[in-house]
């Protein structure tokens, strides 16, 4: 009832191919954007903005990147954090070379370096599949981590082997560095994430996305209908790494403000993979759900005892949080193996029929 399409006629192809063909969806997305761009920056505390909202958005972007590869093309990768690192280090090198250039341009440009590296590590995907490819991407993760630690050139021979983010301004407003306010940083991250999500959603709906999904569903059949496997797979690696690279650059420049090589370790790769699996493979909105679930829920759980006025030792809260999040992950995967995105879809389906069940 709430979600009924009756009466919404499509009279031309453009309407039929629109990103959100249903009116309720358009209203919904407009509402979400208004909340994200206006309400949240006005009402939320700087802690919520900088420790919850910004990381959730950045992880969503990384999850979208991995989802394009794993969810849409069916190539499992454990090298996500490595590609994020490439983006971050590339952006650091760019901004030291060109201090005057707009930092957002540099962040978007650093994604191309990650894309190139990703394509190189995607080369084995031409020959191997499944577990074997997973191991090859694992090698990428280890190799890149090794580079971050062992190549002092990447950090401009910094003695502490870390990236320190300098202040960069746009129109005299500091966007990176310690003087950037959480609101500015949030809005910049949000704009980039919304823009890139829009690109991704168009990508997966179009020819490229279709060919990715064809490769995922059965590569031999895809080849038979004329999809060139090599190009398609490499493109998936490149685009996925581009998204991860931008996410990595955002992570260091707009969230953490400094980073050691350890920020891009294998754990980070796993966390992004969990986000994709919990959120739902092959779903963009699932990437957001996954990021909110994996990053946001622990913070909520940690602050819960204090909110209810119960005093529990910090370490105990930590242990409880591990157990609860772990249990919830298992619970969700048993109840809905296709992730939170599938639950969302079912909810929409139910709303469409409400109040008449099947």
């Amino acid at each position: 009832m709430f979600y009924r399409e009756t009466g919404q006629y499509k009279t031309d192809y453009a309407a039929d191919m629109a990103l959100f063909p249903i009116r309720q969806d358009r209203i919904g997305i407009a509402l979400i954007l208004i909340i994200a761009f206006v309400v949240i920056p006005l009402t939320m505390s700087s802690f919520t903005l900088s420790a919850v909202m910004i990381p959730v958005l950045i992880f969503s972007l990384a999850a979208i990147g991995l989802n394009l590869l794993t969810g849409y093309t069916g190539l499992i990768s454990l090298g996500t954090a490595g590609f994020m690192g490439v983006g971050a280090y590339a952006c650091y090198k760019f901004t030291t070379w060109f201090p005057g250039v707009n930092i957002i341009v540099l962040i978007l440009a650093s994604g191309f370096v990650a894309a190139a590296v990703g394509a190189v590590f995607g080369l084995p995907s031409l020959r191997i599949k499944g577990f074997y490819l997973t191991v090859a991407t694992l090698a990428a993760q280890f190799f890149l981590s090794w580079c971050f630690v062992r190549l002092p050139w990447l950090v401009n021979y910094n003695i502490s082997n870390a990236i320190e983010v300098p202040t960069r301004t746009i129109l005299d407003i500091p966007v990176t560095g310690p003087n950037a306010t959480p609101v500015t940083r949030y809005l910049v991250v949000l704009s980039i994430v919304v823009f890139m999500t829009w690109i991704a959603s168009n990508l997966v709906r179009g020819r490229i996305g279709r060919s990715w999904m064809a490769v995922r569903d059965m590569d031999i059949a895809a080849e038979l209908i004329g999809i060139r496997l090599y190009r398609t797979k490499l493109l998936a690696f490149a685009v996925s790494s581009y998204y991860c690279g931008v996410a990595g650059a955002l992570m260091v420049f707009l969230w953490l403000g400094a980073a050691e090589a350890d920020s891009f370790n294998i754990n980070q790769s796993f966390i992004i993979l969990f986000m994709v699996i919990i959120g739902g493979l092959g779903s963009l909105i699932g990437s957001f759900f996954g990021a909110i679930f994996i990053w946001g829920l622990p913070i909520l759980l940690r602050s819960a005892p204090e909110f209810f006025g119960v005093s529990i030792a910090a370490a105990t809260v930590e242990h409880i949080q591990y157990m609860v999040v772990g249990a919830l992950i298992i619970f969700f995967l048993i109840v809905e193996p296709h992730g939170l995105a599938r639950l969302w879809q079912i909810a929409k389906q139910k709303l469409r029929m409400w109040p008449f069940p099947y």
Partner: protein
């Protein structure tokens, strides 16, 4: 802006009914502790967290806080993870802390640029960025009593003492096994400089964070290279593993020297009785015989207000935590004295740190005679002071002090610091100029 205040006001109004805690925040000093009782570094993090907590708790219980103002002590669990550390910092920032202790080099690096903007002093006690000792460039960061370069120079003073002069090292090999990150890499330039000066060869054995408990490859190389001395920069699970591996290859333990962060009881116990002879630097006293520690026992432990296990009380890293809290408490007391205020702010405590003096008499007054070397050289331009440490040796069951206070080679370290600070600033342009004025008393 108006809407934001309005919204916050409404939110607050809803809150007041349920949470009557906000009222007391006015009359207390908020001291958050970023600790880690979980994760791969918990082994070292637990005793430190307990020591820091217990000393401040004791001040609350025994003296009613500092200068009549209670301390609000709160822990935030970082798990030694930099992302979580930044989250903790954002969380405590809102409550106006007078000082933040990141207890991790990685987290410290992230907080250094933020501290000046948020006006929160960061105490990174003998860790973090060595260059931040240059107070003219880093007015908000403090790292007394000594930097890693000081530590390395003290180790070399000790080695020189044992060898009968550092010139005797010519042609020999010195191994350096280190945590492969900012923490372990920092001393390398000075080590290489020493190698050039005294004509010995340096062998580096990096241990990545993921391989802390699996160092057999590194120690296989040590066995092959047969270094005359081994120096270790380790932390957390890396330390006991290294000690165990060293005993396994029969490395002479009295030639194996660690920095102060490698000297926990649990670290040495990793090698059992075979670890006898293992040396580490230390700058805090050992044992429970100090009156202040007796007070902790009486006012905190016996009342069940601590998480400290009975048998860990007075161990090295526990006392290190106490030392850390003494610095905090003294800086707050100093700030109260300078400003005449009771409830001090972050800026006041920064001034308190810049004029921090703990003489031998003051240590005694605190109930900690000879607990640390006198802190005297901390000033506006020198936020470290380059104080002395001593060498301790594992006798199979406990640490024993085996040397007098060793002072660092300040004349060699200071130029390195200045250069590193200049380098940091030039890479982080635009870096804010110091605008904080310097107190006359400091």
């Amino acid at each position: 802006m108006l809407t934001r205040h309005l919204a916050m006001g409404i939110a607050l109004a809803g809150f007041v009914g349920t949470a009557p805690i906000t009222a007391s925040a006015q009359e207390s000093i908020y001291v958050p502790l970023l600790t880690y009782r979980t994760g791969p570094f918990a082994g070292s993090g637990l005793p430190i967290a307990n020591g820091m907590n217990d000393y401040l708790q004791m001040l609350n219980e025994r003296d009613g806080g500092i200068g009549g103002v209670k301390l609000t002590i709160e822990e935030c669990e970082t798990g030694y993870d930099t992302k979580r550390g930044v989250e903790c910092y954002e969380q405590v920032k809102a409550k106006k802390p007078v000082v933040v202790n990141p207890y991790s080099t990685g987290i410290t690096l992230q907080l250094i640029p933020k501290a000046a903007v948020d006006k929160i002093p960061v105490l990174s006690m003998a860790y973090g960025l060595s260059a931040s000792a240059v107070g003219d460039e880093f007015p908000w960061i403090f790292n007394p009593p000594a930097t890693y370069w000081d530590g390395l120079s003290m180790i070399f003073r000790y080695i020189g003492d044992k060898e009968g002069g550092l010139e005797k090292l010519k042609g020999k090999t010195i191994g350096y096994i280190f945590f492969d990150g900012g923490y372990g890499r920092e001393p390398i330039p000075l080590l290489e400089q020493f190698a050039k000066d005294y004509g010995f060869e340096v062998k580096l054995y990096p241990v990545p964070a993921t391989e802390m408990q699996n160092q057999s490859a590194q120690w296989l190389n040590v066995r092959r290279d047969k270094p005359a001395w081994m120096i270790m920069w380790g932390w957390g699970a890396m330390n006991p593993t290294a000690v165990r591996e060293a005993t396994r290859i029969n490395y002479p333990m009295d030639k194996f020297v660690g920095i102060w962060w490698s000297g926990g009881e649990d670290d040495a116990r990793g090698g059992g009785t075979d670890a006898k002879g293992y040396l580490t630097l230390n700058f805090n006293g050992l044992g429970t015989q100090y009156p202040a520690l007796q007070d902790i026992q009486k006012f905190v432990l016996d009342k069940g207000k601590s998480q400290t296990p009975k048998d860990k009380f007075g161990e090295n890293l526990y006392n290190r935590g106490v030392y850390n809290s003494v610095l905090i408490a003294e800086a707050i007391r100093n700030a109260q004295r300078i400003t005449g205020k009771k409830v001090v702010t972050g800026d006041d405590v920064r001034r308190g740190f810049e004029s921090l003096k703990i003489s031998a008499a003051r240590w005694k007054e605190l109930g900690l005679p000879e607990f640390g070397a006198p802190i005297e050289a901390v000033s506006c331009s020198d936020h470290n002071g380059h104080h002395a440490a001593y060498m301790q040796q594992w006798d199979g069951t406990k640490w024993v002090r085996v040397s007098d206070w060793i002072s660092p080679m300040k004349e060699r370290v200071r130029p390195l610091l200045e250069a590193a600070a200049k380098d940091y600033v030039s890479k982080n342009q635009p870096w804010p100029k110091r605008t904080e004025s310097c107190d006359k008393s400091s």
